[in-house]
Symmetry: C2
Subunit: 113 residues, 2 copies
DNA sequence: CAATCATATTCCCTTATCGGCATGCGTCAA
DNA sequence: TTGACGCATGCCGATAAGGGAATATGATTG
Protein backbone atom coordinates (compact mmCIF):
# COMPACT_ATOMS: atom_id res chain seq x y z
CA UNK A 1 0.00 0.00 0.00
CA UNK A 2 1.22 3.47 -0.78
CA UNK A 3 0.56 6.55 1.24
CA UNK A 4 -3.11 7.34 1.72
CA UNK A 5 -4.69 9.63 -0.81
CA UNK A 6 -4.33 13.35 -0.19
CA UNK A 7 -8.03 13.60 -0.81
CA UNK A 8 -8.82 11.24 2.01
CA UNK A 9 -8.38 13.58 4.94
CA UNK A 10 -7.38 17.07 5.93
CA UNK A 11 -4.03 16.12 7.44
CA UNK A 12 -2.91 14.77 4.11
CA UNK A 13 -4.29 17.69 2.19
CA UNK A 14 -2.32 20.24 4.21
CA UNK A 15 0.89 18.23 4.09
CA UNK A 16 1.70 19.99 0.83
CA UNK A 17 3.24 23.47 1.29
CA UNK A 18 1.67 25.00 -1.79
CA UNK A 19 -1.77 23.96 -0.61
CA UNK A 20 -1.11 25.62 2.72
CA UNK A 21 -0.09 28.74 0.81
CA UNK A 22 -3.38 28.66 -1.07
CA UNK A 23 -5.36 28.44 2.15
CA UNK A 24 -3.47 31.33 3.69
CA UNK A 25 -4.00 33.46 0.62
CA UNK A 26 -7.71 32.72 0.58
CA UNK A 27 -8.06 34.22 4.05
CA UNK A 28 -8.04 37.59 2.32
CA UNK A 29 -10.98 36.66 0.14
CA UNK A 30 -12.21 34.69 -2.83
CA UNK A 31 -10.09 34.41 -5.93
CA UNK A 32 -10.34 33.05 -9.44
CA UNK A 33 -7.90 30.28 -10.28
CA UNK A 34 -5.69 32.27 -12.58
CA UNK A 35 -5.12 35.09 -10.13
CA UNK A 36 -4.36 32.59 -7.41
CA UNK A 37 -1.84 30.86 -9.63
CA UNK A 38 -0.21 34.15 -10.52
CA UNK A 39 0.04 35.38 -6.93
CA UNK A 40 1.59 32.12 -5.76
CA UNK A 41 3.84 31.58 -8.74
CA UNK A 42 2.36 28.33 -9.93
CA UNK A 43 0.97 27.23 -13.25
CA UNK A 44 -2.77 27.27 -13.84
CA UNK A 45 -3.08 23.48 -14.09
CA UNK A 46 -1.00 23.19 -10.95
CA UNK A 47 -3.27 25.51 -9.05
CA UNK A 48 -6.36 23.70 -10.33
CA UNK A 49 -5.04 20.37 -9.14
CA UNK A 50 -4.26 21.64 -5.68
CA UNK A 51 -7.64 23.32 -5.49
CA UNK A 52 -9.28 20.07 -6.41
CA UNK A 53 -7.64 18.32 -3.49
CA UNK A 54 -8.64 21.10 -1.13
CA UNK A 55 -12.19 20.98 -2.43
CA UNK A 56 -12.47 17.24 -1.95
CA UNK A 57 -11.56 17.49 1.70
CA UNK A 58 -13.89 20.44 2.10
CA UNK A 59 -11.35 23.15 2.87
CA UNK A 60 -12.36 25.22 -0.10
CA UNK A 61 -15.63 26.02 -1.84
CA UNK A 62 -16.09 27.21 -5.38
CA UNK A 63 -18.81 29.10 -7.13
CA UNK A 64 -19.22 30.17 -10.70
CA UNK A 65 -18.95 33.81 -11.53
CA UNK A 66 -19.47 34.10 -15.26
CA UNK A 67 -16.44 32.86 -17.08
CA UNK A 68 -14.54 32.54 -13.85
CA UNK A 69 -14.72 30.21 -10.92
CA UNK A 70 -14.16 31.79 -7.55
CA UNK A 71 -12.53 29.77 -4.81
CA UNK A 72 -13.15 30.63 -1.19
CA UNK A 73 -11.98 29.32 2.13
CA UNK A 74 -13.98 26.94 4.30
CA UNK A 75 -11.71 26.56 7.28
CA UNK A 76 -13.99 24.43 9.45
CA UNK A 77 -11.98 21.36 8.52
CA UNK A 78 -8.91 22.89 10.11
CA UNK A 79 -10.46 22.91 13.52
CA UNK A 80 -9.74 19.21 14.18
CA UNK A 81 -6.13 19.81 13.22
CA UNK A 82 -5.90 22.69 15.65
CA UNK A 83 -7.46 20.66 18.41
CA UNK A 84 -5.36 17.61 17.75
CA UNK A 85 -2.13 19.58 17.93
CA UNK A 86 -3.48 21.46 20.93
CA UNK A 87 -3.71 18.16 22.77
CA UNK A 88 0.06 18.28 23.03
CA UNK A 89 0.27 21.79 24.38
CA UNK A 90 1.31 20.85 27.87
CA UNK A 91 4.14 18.78 26.45
CA UNK A 92 5.89 21.49 24.52
CA UNK A 93 5.91 23.83 27.49
CA UNK A 94 7.85 21.49 29.72
CA UNK A 95 11.59 21.25 29.79
CA UNK A 96 12.15 17.97 28.18
CA UNK A 97 15.30 16.38 29.36
CA UNK A 98 14.48 13.26 31.24
CA UNK A 99 10.90 14.28 31.83
CA UNK A 100 9.64 10.83 31.07
CA UNK A 101 12.29 9.20 33.14
CA UNK A 102 11.29 11.44 35.99
CA UNK A 103 7.65 10.45 35.63
CA UNK A 104 8.63 6.81 35.68
CA UNK A 105 10.63 7.33 38.83
CA UNK A 106 7.66 8.93 40.50
CA UNK A 107 5.46 6.01 39.62
CA UNK A 108 7.96 3.54 40.97
CA UNK A 109 8.47 5.49 44.15
CA UNK A 110 4.72 5.60 44.69
CA UNK A 111 4.39 1.87 44.25
CA UNK A 112 7.13 1.21 46.73
CA UNK A 113 5.44 3.16 49.47
CA UNK B 1 8.80 15.63 -8.77
CA UNK B 2 6.97 13.27 -6.49
CA UNK B 3 5.47 14.04 -3.16
CA UNK B 4 7.81 15.57 -0.63
CA UNK B 5 9.48 13.17 1.76
CA UNK B 6 7.66 12.48 5.01
CA UNK B 7 10.92 13.11 6.74
CA UNK B 8 11.15 16.61 5.37
CA UNK B 9 8.78 18.39 7.69
CA UNK B 10 6.32 17.90 10.52
CA UNK B 11 3.21 18.42 8.42
CA UNK B 12 4.20 15.52 6.25
CA UNK B 13 5.17 13.35 9.18
CA UNK B 14 1.78 13.69 10.87
CA UNK B 15 -0.14 13.12 7.65
CA UNK B 16 -0.03 9.40 8.40
CA UNK B 17 -2.70 8.25 10.89
CA UNK B 18 -0.59 5.57 12.52
CA UNK B 19 2.11 8.08 13.26
CA UNK B 20 -0.44 10.32 14.91
CA UNK B 21 -1.55 7.33 16.96
CA UNK B 22 2.02 6.79 18.08
CA UNK B 23 2.34 10.39 19.20
CA UNK B 24 -0.90 10.23 21.15
CA UNK B 25 0.14 7.03 22.84
CA UNK B 26 3.49 8.48 23.82
CA UNK B 27 1.75 11.21 25.78
CA UNK B 28 1.31 8.65 28.52
CA UNK B 29 5.02 7.96 28.70
CA UNK B 30 8.01 6.36 27.07
CA UNK B 31 7.70 2.99 25.48
CA UNK B 32 9.92 0.36 23.89
CA UNK B 33 9.21 -0.37 20.25
CA UNK B 34 7.68 -3.77 20.75
CA UNK B 35 5.19 -2.64 23.34
CA UNK B 36 4.22 0.28 21.14
CA UNK B 37 3.68 -2.03 18.20
CA UNK B 38 1.59 -4.36 20.29
CA UNK B 39 -0.60 -1.64 21.76
CA UNK B 40 -1.29 -0.14 18.36
CA UNK B 41 -1.67 -3.39 16.48
CA UNK B 42 1.21 -2.93 14.10
CA UNK B 43 4.19 -5.08 13.26
CA UNK B 44 7.55 -4.37 14.84
CA UNK B 45 9.21 -3.32 11.57
CA UNK B 46 6.21 -1.14 10.85
CA UNK B 47 6.50 0.60 14.17
CA UNK B 48 10.25 1.05 13.73
CA UNK B 49 9.76 2.67 10.35
CA UNK B 50 7.19 5.12 11.61
CA UNK B 51 9.34 5.92 14.61
CA UNK B 52 12.24 6.63 12.33
CA UNK B 53 10.20 9.22 10.45
CA UNK B 54 9.04 10.80 13.68
CA UNK B 55 12.59 10.88 14.96
CA UNK B 56 13.93 12.53 11.83
CA UNK B 57 11.50 15.41 12.14
CA UNK B 58 12.23 15.61 15.84
CA UNK B 59 8.85 14.62 17.24
CA UNK B 60 10.22 11.72 19.25
CA UNK B 61 13.46 11.04 21.04
CA UNK B 62 14.95 7.71 21.84
CA UNK B 63 17.29 6.54 24.50
CA UNK B 64 18.83 3.21 25.17
CA UNK B 65 17.69 1.26 28.15
CA UNK B 66 19.64 -1.96 28.17
CA UNK B 67 18.40 -4.27 25.50
CA UNK B 68 15.53 -1.95 24.76
CA UNK B 69 15.22 1.44 23.16
CA UNK B 70 12.70 3.73 24.75
CA UNK B 71 10.86 6.21 22.60
CA UNK B 72 9.51 9.39 24.12
CA UNK B 73 7.52 12.34 22.89
CA UNK B 74 9.07 15.65 21.97
CA UNK B 75 6.03 17.67 21.03
CA UNK B 76 7.73 20.99 20.45
CA UNK B 77 7.54 20.44 16.72
CA UNK B 78 3.76 20.35 16.92
CA UNK B 79 3.57 23.90 18.09
CA UNK B 80 3.94 25.38 14.59
CA UNK B 81 1.14 23.11 13.41
CA UNK B 82 -1.09 24.32 16.19
CA UNK B 83 -0.31 27.92 15.46
CA UNK B 84 -0.73 27.57 11.74
CA UNK B 85 -4.17 26.02 12.11
CA UNK B 86 -5.01 28.58 14.78
CA UNK B 87 -4.50 31.28 12.21
CA UNK B 88 -7.81 30.19 10.72
CA UNK B 89 -9.75 30.25 13.94
CA UNK B 90 -11.92 33.22 13.14
CA UNK B 91 -12.95 31.57 9.88
CA UNK B 92 -14.43 28.43 11.32
CA UNK B 93 -16.45 30.13 14.03
CA UNK B 94 -18.95 31.56 11.60
CA UNK B 95 -20.95 28.99 9.70
CA UNK B 96 -21.13 29.94 6.08
CA UNK B 97 -24.89 29.96 6.00
CA UNK B 98 -24.93 32.53 8.74
CA UNK B 99 -22.24 34.47 6.98
CA UNK B 100 -24.36 34.64 3.85
CA UNK B 101 -27.36 35.67 5.88
CA UNK B 102 -25.29 38.38 7.49
CA UNK B 103 -24.24 39.70 4.11
CA UNK B 104 -27.87 39.78 3.00
CA UNK B 105 -28.79 41.73 6.10
CA UNK B 106 -26.12 44.27 5.37
CA UNK B 107 -27.38 44.72 1.84
CA UNK B 108 -30.94 45.19 2.99
CA UNK B 109 -29.97 47.61 5.70
CA UNK B 110 -28.05 49.63 3.19
CA UNK B 111 -31.02 49.80 0.83
CA UNK B 112 -33.33 50.91 3.60
CA UNK B 113 -31.20 53.87 4.49
C1' DC C 1 31.84 -17.57 22.63
C1' DA C 2 27.05 -18.92 21.76
C1' DA C 3 22.33 -18.20 22.17
C1' DT C 4 18.73 -14.97 22.68
C1' DC C 5 15.99 -11.01 22.79
C1' DA C 6 14.95 -6.11 20.96
C1' DT C 7 15.24 -3.27 17.24
C1' DA C 8 16.69 -1.55 12.66
C1' DT C 9 17.27 -2.20 7.91
C1' DT C 10 16.70 -4.08 3.30
C1' DC C 11 14.20 -5.79 -0.69
C1' DC C 12 10.03 -6.12 -3.27
C1' DC C 13 5.57 -4.67 -4.70
C1' DT C 14 1.66 -1.68 -5.48
C1' DT C 15 0.04 2.77 -5.40
C1' DA C 16 -0.08 7.79 -5.00
C1' DT C 17 1.83 11.55 -5.70
C1' DC C 18 3.53 16.29 -8.10
C1' DG C 19 5.04 18.73 -12.13
C1' DG C 20 4.86 19.77 -17.11
C1' DC C 21 2.49 19.76 -21.26
C1' DA C 22 -1.32 19.31 -24.28
C1' DT C 23 -5.98 19.33 -24.78
C1' DG C 24 -10.98 19.32 -23.66
C1' DC C 25 -14.95 21.92 -22.21
C1' DG C 26 -17.84 25.64 -20.92
C1' DT C 27 -18.81 30.65 -21.16
C1' DC C 28 -18.82 35.09 -23.03
C1' DA C 29 -18.22 38.61 -26.76
C1' DA C 30 -18.10 40.12 -31.46
C1' DT D 1 -21.03 31.04 -35.20
C1' DT D 2 -16.52 31.77 -34.36
C1' DG D 3 -12.98 33.17 -31.43
C1' DA D 4 -10.99 34.08 -27.15
C1' DC D 5 -10.76 33.36 -22.44
C1' DG D 6 -10.88 30.59 -17.90
C1' DC D 7 -10.48 26.46 -16.01
C1' DA D 8 -10.35 21.29 -15.64
C1' DT D 9 -8.60 17.05 -17.10
C1' DG D 10 -5.63 13.54 -19.18
C1' DC D 11 -1.23 11.58 -19.94
C1' DC D 12 3.61 11.10 -18.86
C1' DG D 13 7.83 10.65 -16.10
C1' DA D 14 10.18 10.55 -11.86
C1' DT D 15 9.93 9.78 -7.04
C1' DA D 16 8.61 8.13 -2.82
C1' DA D 17 5.27 6.03 0.25
C1' DG D 18 3.88 2.08 3.23
C1' DG D 19 3.12 -2.96 4.03
C1' DG D 20 5.12 -7.68 4.24
C1' DA D 21 8.81 -10.77 4.81
C1' DA D 22 13.42 -11.81 5.58
C1' DT D 23 17.54 -10.50 7.49
C1' DA D 24 21.09 -7.67 9.68
C1' DT D 25 22.66 -5.29 13.78
C1' DG D 26 23.13 -4.70 18.77
C1' DA D 27 22.99 -5.63 23.44
C1' DT D 28 22.44 -9.13 27.19
C1' DT D 29 22.90 -13.41 29.36
C1' DG D 30 24.64 -18.00 30.10
Amino acid sequence: MARAATTSDVFNAIAEPQRRDILVLLRTGERPVTELARELGMTQPGASKHLRVLREVGLVRDRKAGKQRLYGLDARGLRPVHEWAGGFERFWNESFDRLDAYVQELKQARQEE
